[in-house]
Symmetry: C2
Subunit: 252 residues, 2 copies
């Protein structure tokens, strides 16, 4: 097993950081790493915003559901799908926004932007972790995107997808076990035996329950399917489609 | 600079592979690496299909727009957003599909699935590249998803997002230069000076043009904004929204 795979397999989400800001050199290496990721058809449909301003970080922490580590970390990045740059690019070729509207407003290009930004983000994560830094993705940034776009002053057709806290870890949490490999990885075609699937999940449930029992001295013993039932019966961020329309990404 | 960052910065897409299938150990390490990525709220909204069957690979190569390397590689993976597993999970808790329908059909959960699958994919890529293997993402898999789901026999609420060829490289292409960092990375808020933006793109255009001129002995000299104008004025995969509806992901 090599150093890169070790870094990958040792991932934990870190939610407490020492008060040590990243150096400009670290930030630059992380962004360069993000940019080195593959990008669909060379389109590079994303932007990254690095937030240093303490007032903005405080506001984003509140908007993300009072997550203190959004404010207190070594650096806070926001990864955005970005279809704004392409308007400027085609203007340089004598075209206008109208000429690319059908493309820009499509569900397909929304997917490309989401995928491009996420590939870049995971490269940033592994670069940071390989330097001994810790990270935590902040999906909570999507709780209130109408407010987030004001804080970050993003133009139309830029969608903040998630935040990323990076910094020197001030905690050492355990790794959270993933689904059994045979439940996630299928050979040649999707596995359709629901009973086998549920048997795998039942075995996983036992492991997860044991993990929580140990971590909480027996106070919590919930299983993965209990977690899923709890979360999936409570719809969240149901405003998303309307928000996307409001920034001119109507998912046509 | 450490080994992981070296691996990240050395990424090139490889489109010709030696006829050497990946070993089961390599596949297992790549999938484990994929699974180690962060996942939104522990939901693990993705599946991976590894395609070995030569007939299926040939068919997928055709569907992706006659890309030969989809057929000829060391292994072919398909990364899918997967909201099917959660139905089985909640059934184990005495609930039914109806109880989670609003969540599963939301635009937000489609984003979570796309993001989760992509985080996993980029971990797989870096694991593979760190072992000396080459990779190429296949967005062309989205050309004909109506046919792809038949080949992979995926159930409703599973969306094949992209393919990934992995194998021993049989070519050594140059690295493609990315946008200038200051064009992609913004500090504290999005940069709104369009003229500065275009100046950065003009300078990038010169570099890209020189790259193509050198690579093609002067036959091609196109710039990045020319590429963008060409691609963005031709809408592609405009059936995507209808396809998603057909697999019960209506982006509500």
């Amino acid at each position: 097993m090599n150093e890169t795979i070790n870094t990958i397999l040792n991932h934990r989400s870190i939610r407490a950081f020492k008060d040590e800001p990243l150096t400009d050199e670290q930030i630059s290496l992380i962004v360069q790493s993000a940019q080195a990721a593959a990008t669909s058809s060379y389109l590079q449909v994303y932007s990254i915003i690095g937030v240093k301003d303490p007032a903005k970080k405080k506001k984003l922490a509140e908007l993300a559901g009072d997550q203190e580590y959004v404010e207190k970390n070594g650096h806070f990045f926001v990864f955005c799908a970005d279809l704004h740059r392409h308007k400027l690019a085609v203007e340089m070729e004598g075209l206008s926004e109208k000429d690319i509207e059908e493309t820009v407003e499509s569900t397909e290009k929304f997917m490309v932007g989401t995928i491009d930004a996420t590939l870049a983000a995971q490269n940033a994560v592994l670069a940071a972790e390989s330097m001994g830094l810790g990270i935590c993705y902040i999906g909570g940034l999507r709780n209130r995107l109408d407010e987030v776009v004001k804080v970050l002053n993003t133009p139309d057709r830029v969608i903040p997808l998630f935040g990323l806290c990076v910094g020197v870890p001030d905690q050492d949490p355990g790794k959270k076990q993933r689904l059994p490999m045979e439940n996630v990885y299928h050979v040649d075609e999707y596995q359709h035996d629901d009973e086998l699937f549920k048997k795998q999940l039942a075995s996983y449930n036992e492991d997860i329950s044991a993990y929580y029992r140990e971590r909480t001295q027996g106070k919590r013993t919930h299983t993965w399917t209990e977690i899923i039932a709890g979360k999936m019966t409570k719809p969240v961020r149901m405003y998303m489609k309307e928000f996307l329309k409001s920034v001119k990404i109507p998912l046509k």
